[in-house]
């Protein structure tokens, strides 16, 4: 039990360290703005190093866009305005949270559809199994 707890703690520590972010000395007005900045840039992809967020990446590209986003925040732009501005330049690929669009329908509904299909198969199989006893007796070797 102790060992398990230790393993969980180590896994947690590793996960948290992976979530660390690159630090720029950006002069935020207050903590609210800083939190908003971190939340926003965590949802944006660094186009150069695609498995990192703009918040986490140390790439030059990410630094520059962080600065740009910071400046836009100082100008009073909303999160949506900033995202739209980025999408106009880098396409929706820059968003980690993909918008619902014709090209993303499979992405949004594919998994629920497969889950639903699997559920139907399970239900049908279970129904077959709960047949009258006589039917089951006739049915040896049904081992899956």
């Amino acid at each position: 039990m102790k060992r398990l707890l230790l393993a969980v703690l180590i896994a947690l520590a590793l996960a948290l360290s992976a979530a660390a972010f690159a630090i720029d000395p950006l002069p935020f007005k207050d903590n609210v703005q800083r939190d908003r900045f971190q939340h926003l840039t965590r949802e944006l992809r660094c186009m150069v190093c695609q498995d990192e967020s703009l918040l986490a990446s140390n790439a030059d590209f990410a630094k520059q866009l962080r600065r740009q986003i910071f400046d836009m925040m100082q100008q009073g732009k909303s999160d949506k305005e900033i995202k739209d501005w980025l999408v106009a330049r880098y396409s929706t690929f820059i968003l980690y949270d993909p918008p619902l669009a014709p090209s993303t329908i499979a992405l949004w509904f594919g998994t629920p559809a497969i889950l639903l299909a699997g559920g139907i198969v399970v239900v049908v199989l279970l129904r077959r199994r709960t047949r009258p006893a006589g039917a089951i007796a006739e049915d040896p070797g049904d081992d899956w």
Partner: protein, 189 residues
């Protein structure tokens, strides 16, 4: 009776499901091989190129604006002396500069001007004109995120085509030249 007849087929259901999964995996593998996830289609295609005003590399006191380049289609090639793939692309540009049929403008991206000048002196200068974006701020408006990138911009300043990564003879023949020919036909009608 009916059930008994159906059972043998039912036994193959797991195999069929497994086969379907294998098919999906193979499709995924093949798709990954033929598509480079780094190359994201630009949302700026068929939209006006952003306004810019950038110094000439050779003479930084002179500026080139988007308006200066209107009237004729041109290729805008984003490069940098620090960019490794640009070195691969460079001989191709040297060979094709006079075959494109449109002028080739170099866009020196986030580069120290003296480094870019030395790079062009050493390898040769394929460009008809080179503009320098040392800070990279204008490049954000072009959606540049890596070099080399190449834009085809028409006489009205609309971005008609973008290629990310080095231009190769193959890409030029299959993608770029048809686009340039189409522009030439538009221009003559």
């Amino acid at each position: 009776m009916n059930e008994v007849a159906r059972k043998p087929i039912g036994r193959f259901v797991p195999l069929l499901v497994f086969a379907a999964l294998v098919v999906f995996f193979v499709i995924g593998l093949l798709w990954n091989q033929s598509h480079d996830a780094r190359f994201v289609p630009s949302p700026l295609i068929d939209k006006p190129a952003p306004e810019f005003r950038l110094p000439r590399l050779e003479n930084p006191t002179q500026f080139v604006t988007k308006a200066d380049l209107l009237g004729k289609p041109y290729l805008l090639n984003v490069f940098a002396s620090w960019c490794f793939a640009c070195g691969d692309e460079h001989p191709v540009l040297m060979a094709y500069r006079d075959k494109f049929g449109v002028s080739l403008i170099g866009y020196d991206y986030k580069d120290a001007p003296q480094d870019a000048r030395a790079w062009l002196d050493r390898h040769g200068n394929p460009y008809h004109e080179v503009i320098a974006d040392q800070s990279g701020e204008t490049a954000i408006n072009f959606g540049v995120y890596g070099a080399p990138e190449t834009y085809l911009i028409d006489a009205k300043g609309i971005i008609r085509y973008k290629h990310i990564g080095p231009l190769t003879p193959d890409v030029i023949a299959k993608e770029l030249e048809p686009k340039i020919r189409a522009l030439a036909q538009e221009g003559s009608t």
